[in-house]
Each structure stands twice: as structure tokens, then as C-alpha cells.
Amino acid sequence: MMRVMIADDEAPAREKLEHWLAEQPDVTVVGSVKDGLSAAQCIEQRRPQVAFLDVQMPTLSGLQVAAQLDPSSAPLIVFVTAFDQHALKAFDLNAVDYLLKPYDRERFARTVQRVRERLQSYQPGARAVAMGRAQWPASERLLVPDGERLRLIETASIEWLQADDNYVHVHTAGSRYLLRRTLHDLLFQLGEQRFMRIHRSTAVNIGCIAALAPLFKGDYEVHLHNGRVLRLSRRYRDMLFARMVW
């Protein structure tokens, strides 16, 4: 069975998709939500294989939802839109699936057929995620799990990141969030302007660095404004110095 999720803020549009998807013998609709944040949450919790995302939604647009996902585990995304010239160009360019409103049964069937075929490929959601991120080169907000729910935090409020196997601890002034992502992928999403790797398993918000103190063998201690001390390994030293213009 193909597990499918629908996100659209307009009830009639949602109902139409639900209705037609339910007619497909190999499809189960595992969620039908009204906004971007709920869509991300639904993807996180119910792990659908396919997500039909409306482009224009409250809280997070369809593209922003895609940008927040982990490319290795993201569902195959089909963007649904009435009209958005800019997005359409990006869809075509990145060979991402989309459905134009209004659509008829034939066009819908073609899309579902293509989805079935693409689901067999490696990391079927990666393309849409990459495209979503390309639209927002540096995410200003990051979606993090907070208990049972997901919430958006300002990227600027993140002080440092700590890798832990396939997870990343995101440290802000008041809290710590655990994301099931690789540090590499998260840094790619957050962009190079603000965050810098200082160790194999650590990255830091450059604005939070208060001082650097040399240790032996070319390593340094990185003192943050909040008092925490992190280690800067020799391997990343020159890159950090270049960025900080000491």
C-alpha cells in the first residue's frame, strides 16, 4: 500500500484530493492537514511515502515544508498549486512532480502513476527537498521537535550544534532540541553564512563566539558568550580564522 498525506488550506481542494486518492486501490490516506506546520508534523509522525503539498499555505508554504525535511527520509513530494510562475519554473527545472489546479481525473491519474514509478527510486524525496532549499538558500527558521509537537525556532537563536550519531543536538539560549538529521545536512540547510564547523561533531553560530584561546598542538578553545567552552580542532581552524577575520 502507498501511504499518502494531503496538505491544503482550502477544504474543497482537500476533499477532492481525498476523494480521488481513496478511489485508488493501492493508496491509504494517512493524514489530511490544513497548513504547513501540521504537514511537517504529520510527515514526522506518520511517515507517509507520498505528500501532496499545496504551495500556498499558512504557517509554512509547501516549498518551506520541503526545505525543512531530511532528504534521506523525506517522502516523495507532489506540489499542488493553482498558479505560481516562479515555483512552476523551479518544479520543471528540478524535475519535481506537481499538479496544477484545477486538474481532471486523467491528469490526476497520470500523476499518481508517475508517483508509483518514482517511489521505487533511491531517496525519492531528496529532489524536492533540495529544490525547496534552493528557493531559500539560508533558512531563517528551523523546524524542531518539541515534545510531541514541532515548532519553528529562529535560526539566529541557535548557539551551537552537536552531532550525536545520526542525531543533532540543537542548543539555543534556553533549550536543547534533538533532530534526527546529520550535522552535514543540517549545516547545508542552515547555510554557511552563520554557522561554521569547528570539530568533526560540533558547529557553532559565529555570532556567539566570545573568545578563542590556544591549546597545544594547534587546537583552540572556543569560548561562547554564554560561558560554554568548545574545542576547535586544527582541521577546521584556518577556515574559521578566515571567516572571522582576526
Binding site: 477544504a11 474543497p12 481542494a13 477532492k16 501540521s38 499558512p58 493553482a82 505560481d84 489546479k101 484545477p102
Partner: protein, 406 residues
Amino acid sequence: MYPQNDFRYLAFGRFAPPTLRLPQGSWLSPWPPLHSVGMNAPSRLPQAGVLTDDGATFPLKTFATLWTIFWLLMMSVTAQDALRNPHTLWWEPVLWEGSSILVATAWMLPALRVRQRYAVYLDKPLAWFACYVRWLPLVAVTFIAAVYAIRFGVYAAVGRTYEHSSWRFIVVYESVRLVLFAGLWLGILFGIDSYGQWQLQRHRLLQTRKALAEAQLAQLQGQLRPHFLFNALNTVSALMHTDVERADRLVAMLGDLLRISLRSIEHEMTPLADELHTLQLYADIMRERFRDRVSVHWHTDETLLSTPVPALLLQPLLENVFKHGVERTVAPVRIDVRVRRESGALEILVSNSGSLLTPGHRDGVGFRNCRERLGIIYGHAASLLVRNEGDGVAARVLIPLTSAFA
């Protein structure tokens, strides 16, 4: 007397007094009430009296020049005539004519001052002249009294006696002279003001036409905005499978709305009822799309439905509510459209709950267009205000309800 700068104010006439009250018909009962006074312009413009327009120029400089030339001529004629008489001193004709000039000018100033108030009667020359002529008895009495007082005073000051004809003759002679001069000068004033009025109306007509064309284009773009149109079509397509009747109704509404956008508009003003109908069509279509989170409430004072309002003025206000108040939130939104009489004005209030203006908020094109048109048609008498009220945003349009509209 009027101070120098006051005269300049009169002479250029650009800065109209802040409120121009329309003269009421009481004094002039033989003439028709104001609202049936026809306008020269072919379109249904509001009454000139409610307009305060910076574009109007009444060429009063011309008037002042003519006035000066006329009196210089009069004085030279009198002087030539008098100087042939050996008993007359050189200053005597200057005094005679000068006293007349002084008092005549003193009366001309208030006449010029009220001419903007009487401008509404320029289409009815009889009414216009009557407005002035009704003052003639008072003017005649004060004119004769003042002129002769000055002459007696000056003669007494130089120790001579002023010899004049019998009082009966003087009153008749001066009155006739005054009537002739008043007729001449009111005629000139009428000509100048009519010309100014004509220019003003032509200017305003062009402006109004242009603003209407822009509003119409904006409306059309709003309706044909792909985001609106394709989403509406998708809603129809979705309803088709669940509720054919409703889908059918939605298609009809969409058709009506597009028809309204595409028709060519003859009149700048449209009855409020029509404008509200367009607004309702738009609201109904949008409500179908967002039916699980939008409710629209109408509160209309039925007695105001025939009030003329600028065509296509209101839709941008509602578009804004959906764009900022509905599409960006998941919470239920209550929209209120309120039409009522508020201290002599028509108040149209479009408000939504649940979202506030951001602090650095700036007007979009829709609001700017609205505001421009209100300014062109009503001057400062109308307004459009957008602000946070309670837990939402309210856009308030105030349009003057003049006696002509009430």
C-alpha cells in the same frame, strides 16, 4: 478693511476655506432646491460645493486689473471735465472719484469673498445674480452715506464747504450709477467665474475618468489574478463531485463577478447597493474556498442603499482581508462589513478578527488607489483609515453624506 495678505488669498482663490457649506434654498425659494441643480459635465459628478480642489484657478488677477483700469479711466474723465472749470481745484475731482473708488472697492472685497460659496449657482445665472443683487439696497445706502461722509470730511478739514446738488437728486443719481456699475461688474465676475468653473470641471472630469479607469483595471486584475481564478475554478471542480447545485451556483457567481469586471463603466458613481452586491459575490466565492474557517457578517443600514459611492471602491478592502487575514492563518476568521450613518457621513467598515497589522505596515496598491479616488472626488471630506481594532484589522471609509445625497 482686509489686510494685504487677505487680499492675496482672495485674489488667487486656491486655498478654499476648509468647509464650504452649501447655501440652503430658504432665501431663494423661487429657485429649485440644490440637488436638482444640473451640472455642465456629462457625468454624475458630486456637487461642486463639496469639492475643494487645488486644481481650480479663478483668474482674479484679470479682475483686479480690469477694476483698476476702469477706475483710472473714470477718474481721468472726471478730472478732465472738472479742470475745464476754473473754480475747481486740482484735488477736488480726485476726492470725488477717489471716495467712490474707495467705497466701491470696500464692497467688492466681500463680494469676491463669497463668490466661491455662490459658485454652485453658476449654472443658473438668475440665481447667481440674485444672490448678489439682494444686497444692493444695503450697498446703495452705505455707498452714498460713506462717499458723502468722506467728501464732507475732507472739505471740512481744508476749511471749505462741499457744494452738492439736492439730496433727492443725489440719491437717485448715485443709485442709478451704482446699479449700472454693479450690473457691469457682476457680469464681468460672472464671466470670469464661469470660465474658472468650466476649467475646474473639465480638469476634475479628466482626473475622475483616469482614476476610474485605474480602479477598473485593478478590479479586473483582481478578478483575473490567476491565484484567485484558478483556485476558484478548483473549488468548482471539487464541488462538482460532492454538490452539483453548489458548484453550479459558484460558476454563476464567478461569471457575474467577471461580467462586472469586464463591463465598461459609464458612471464614476454607483448606488451603494450595487457596490455591495459586487462585494457579496466576491465574498461568497472566497467563503466557498475557505468555508471551514471564514464567516462573513453584513450589517447594512437599508436607508443608505441608494447613496451614490465611487464605483469599485470597496473590493480592494475585502481582498486585503482575505489576503492578509485569512490566507495566512489557520484560525477561524470573522469578517464584518458594516454600513451605517455616522455623524453626517456614510461609514463603510470592513474588519476581520484574528490578525493584526505588522508595525511597519504600509499601504498596498489597492489602498493607495482607494485613497486617491476618494481624494479626487471628495477632497478632504472623505477618508480611508486602516488600523488595528480589538483583535483584528479594520478598514474604515468615510464618505460625506451631503444634503444632495441624503
